[in-house]
């Protein structure tokens, strides 16, 4: 769907982006991850030509983006900024209506689409006439998202979209983000420096450093098959947490005790991640949890110790470093 080939950007003598290539599948969510100055934002901005590449090319649906007038290209790509970039002199409704207006939609169509989006983003109609400064940070970010989605673009670019939010608001929006059906139809490229966010939202992660892609793979790839020390060190601090979140009960199924026990408790799906499974111990004060494998219909019962031991056996088995 999106294809970048030998993309480079020099700012004077500095190579901000150094001949990188990557591809994003349709409806995939690609995360550009890295520290400040690694070139991830520059890469993102080259896709809608906010920054013109020094060399290399980008294709969207097989069309070279340099062959289109930048204004027209951008109207077909949603863009969400870190500090939301809402127009302070426009109301919420006017902010969201910017692209429909540029595209020449009639008012009825725009209004209908705007109220539909607001509902999906849990904003009431009362906000339509409000100015951005009257909204909370989370609400502003939702309006920013609505503005990017209003014309239903195939591609969505997000530049640290949740970076300015506090932790509570951020995890709430993360949950909404994952649940939003609009986004499931999009091809998304998102920039972040937050490892947890990358693992939580990304189908695939490009870890970047000094203008180059160090590793391009699924979260599990990065975690369990790190390409080099840079990747390992990058994830080190949050490694256990990430592993808990990345591994599902399915993955450790074979090491769970095979004998079945009958319980009345509602079983957990085996697709649940390990972290959530552990949370059940805390909240339910249960001695053991019931797990049901959706594919086979098998049910297993595991205590906290059994669960942890299965986790370590899984880790031992995976080809490590």
């Amino acid at each position: 769907m999106i294809k970048a080939e030998h993309l480079s950007k020099d700012f004077g003598k500095v190579k901000a982006v150094d001949s990188i290539s990557f591809e994003v599948e349709k409806h995939e969510n690609l995360i550009l991850l890295g520290t400040s100055g690694c070139g991830k934002t520059t890469t993102l901005k080259m896709i809608n030509r906010l920054i013109e590449p020094t060399s290399g090319s980008i294709f969207i649906n097989g069309k070279n983006i340099m062959d289109q007038p930048p204004e027209l290209l951008r109207r077909g790509i949603g863009y969400v900024l870190q500090n939301n970039g809402l127009f302070p002199h426009y109301t919420v409704a006017e902010n969201i209506a910017v692209v429909p207006q540029l595209l020449g939609w009639d008012k009825k169509r725009a209004d209908k689409r705007i109220s539909e989006l607001l509902e999906k983003l849990h904003l009431t109609k009362d906000y339509l006439k409000a100015y951005p400064r009257e909204l909370s940070g989370g609400q502003q970010q939702r309006v920013g998202l609505a503005r990017a989605l209003v014309a239903d673009p195939e591609v969505l670019l997000m530049d640290e979209p949740f970076g300015a939010l506090d932790n509570v608001t951020r995890s709430k929006i993360h949950a909404e983000f994952k649940a939003l059906d609009e986004l499931k139809r999009k091809t998304i490229i998102m920039v972040t420096h937050d490892v947890q966010e990358a693992f939580e939202l990304g189908d695939r992660i490009c870890l970047m450093d000094k203008g180059k892609i160090v590793q391009d793979g699924t979260p599990a790839d990065l975690l369990f098959k790190p390409k080099n020390d840079f990747v390992r060190n990058f994830l080190k601090e949050q490694k256990l947490h990430l592993e808990f979140k990345t591994i599902s009960l399915d993955d450790i199924w074979e090491w769970l005790p095979s004998k079945q026990k009958h319980t009345t408790a509602k079983p957990l799906s085996a697709a649940t991640d390990f972290w959530t499974a552990l949370e059940h111990f805390n909240f339910d004060h249960a001695d053991a949890i019931t797990i049901k494998n959706k594919e086979t219909g098998d049910v297993k019962l595991a205590s906290f110790e059994e669960l942890m031991s299965a986790f370590y056996q899984f880790k031992k088995q995976t080809p490590h470093e």
Partner: protein, 525 residues
């Protein structure tokens, strides 16, 4: 105080015609300049906000223009654009330019980068980003710049009267020259009110602006054009010849008022500053001017004095006037100052003035040359017996006299000298003397009589035919009223005079003021 206010009110009522014309001229001048400044400043500000490398030089030049003293800027304009409205408007718009330019630049570059990026990323063209995002968001700052420019322009426009562009400055500078507080206030108060009013109105317009941007942006230029048009109102009457008189001359009985009442002279008159008047006449922008009979520029610009055949210009014999307590404090002062008495006649003074005014020699050098040639010069002594403070008005002749007195005092006495030259007009100089800011300055008998003492018409008429009578009267009255002594006259008579270009006067066969009047009457437009 009550009586005083009454007087001002009476003055304003009496001069209401003039006041209205001047106010409308003032508004017109302000807004023509402002309109052009906006038309230039706004696009230029946008341009330098786009191309930042030009911003330094452009803002720098505008900043330098701003620091040029207003009078000097007006002076620079005369060789380029002559006198009247054109140079005044150009000078004013240059002053208004910087605040507009800088605020436009600051306003646009100050728009949040994220907002600008969002606008571009939404797919807006450069034009759309400018008109939909940058300009609306920069508008409060730009408006603040226009307001600053308006207030500045209203203030500086008072100086337009220096170069015959009219406005409330005519009253202000006339009042200062004539020692007439009412006249100053009649100009200054409306000018201040205009500044406050326009600032207030623009502030209101700005509030409206946020909500109804389109109407406001449409009203502003319309309003500017409307107000500008005030300036284009036709002048009172035209005549074949054009006169340029100083603000002081305009209001004096022995000036324009006498020309009207005694001669019945009707001539199209512009008010203009003394400093540019002679040149304007030489360059044929004016035909008749009010000058001084000993002015060096008379010689420089080949002008001729018209005979005052009905004696409306009283004698203006120059003499130092000294506060009595200063004479006591500096016992040798009087004899020293009197060294100059009887030494300079009209033609000598004209020649000396010619050297400073036209050959641009320094007054000190001219003064020293004269003293040396007349064997009066002595090198400076110790100067440790107190400091004598000399004042002078703001023109060459007074500078020369002040220099001569300074050298004489230093040479013949042990006093030191501090000079406070360039004290505006008569009022400023005389007030400095009575308020013990200076000890003496050279004054003219006619000025003492008409501008300071202001006796009844009857007394004036009984005095002005005789130079001795005039001198005797002012000497007696100053002693009585102000404890100020007139020392012996220096010798020359620097009286008011009407003058024309020699060549034109000859062709038109005008030798006297009566000739001029007859010519104007037979050649009406």
């Amino acid at each position: 105080m009550n009586e005083h206010q009454q007087n001002l009110w009476e003055f304003m009522q009496q001069q209401s015609d003039k006041l209205l014309t001047q106010t409308l001229q003032h508004i017109g001048l302000t807004f023509i300049s402002l309109l052009i400044a906006v038309l230039i400043g706004l696009p230029l500000g946008i341009f330098i906000a786009r191309k930042k490398r030009f911003s330094g030089p452009v803002l720098g030049v505008a900043g330098i223009l701003q620091t040029v003293p207003s009078i000097a800027l007006l002076g620079f304009m005369i060789p380029l654009l002559g006198i009247g409205a054109k140079p005044a408007i150009v000078a004013l718009l240059l002053y208004a330019l910087l605040p507009i330019l800088r605020n436009t630049f600051t306003g646009i570059t100050g728009v949040d980068a994220a907002v600008k990026e969002a606008a571009v990323a939404m797919g807006m063209s450069k034009r759309q980003v400018l008109f939909k995002v940058e300009l609306p968001l920069a508008m409060p700052v730009i408006f603040a710049g226009i307001r600053t420019a308006t207030v500045i322009t209203v203030g500086v426009a008072t100086l337009a009267s220096y170069i015959a562009a009219g406005g409330l400055g005519e009253f202000i500078f006339g009042g200062i020259s004539l020692n007439n507080t009412n006249m100053i206030l009649a100009g200054a108060i409306p000018a201040a009110l205009l500044a406050i009013m326009f600032d207030f109105l623009l502030a209101r317009l700005q509030k409206l602006n946020i909500k109804k941007l389109k109407t406001a942006t449409a009203t502003l230029p319309l309003l500017l054009v409307l107000l500008s048009s005030f300036y284009l109102l036709p002048s009172a009457y035209g005549s074949k010849l054009k006169a340029g008189f100083t603000p002081e001359f305009m209001g004096r009985r022995d000036g324009n008022l006498g020309l009207i009442s005694t001669y019945g002279l009707k001539i199209q008159t512009l008010v203009i500053n003394d400093a540019v008047m002679y040149k304007a006449c030489y360059e044929k922008q004016l035909d008749v001017i009010s000058g001084y009979s000993t002015d060096g520029r008379l010689k420089a610009y080949d002008l001729v004095v018209l005979d005052d055949d009905k004696f409306i210009f009283p004698p203006y014999y120059a003499a130092p006037i000294v506060r009595n307590d200063a004479l006591k404090k500096f016992p040798e002062l009087e004899t020293t100052l009197n060294l100059l008495s009887g030494k300079i006649n009209d033609s000598v003074m004209t020649a000396l003035n010619y050297r400073t005014d036209y050959l641009h020699q320094s007054p000190e050098r001219v003064a020293k040359d004269f003293l040396v040639a007349n064997k009066l010069y002595k090198p400076a002594g110790g100067g440790n017996a107190g400091v004598v403070r000399i004042g002078s008005k703001i023109f060459g002749e007074q500078y020369i006299l002040a220099s001569m007195y300074s050298m004489l005092i230093k040479g013949y006495t042990d006093y030191d000298v501090s000079t406070k030259t360039g004290l505006g007009g008569t009022k400023i100089c005389f007030d400095a003397l009575t308020n013990n800011q200076i000890d003496f300055y050279p004054e003219y008998t006619g000025t003492g009589l008409l501008a300071i003492l202001q006796p009844s018409t009857k007394i004036i008429d009984s005095l002005t035919h005789s130079k001795d009578k005039t001198y005797g009267y002012v000497q007696e009255q100053f002693e009585k009223k102000y404890q100020i002594k007139w020392l012996k006259p220096i010798g020359f008579n620097n009286a008011y005079a009407l003058m024309m270009r020699k060549k034109q006067a000859k062709t038109l066969k005008i030798k006297t003021i009566s000739n001029l009047k007859r010519y104007l009457e037979t050649n009406k437009r």
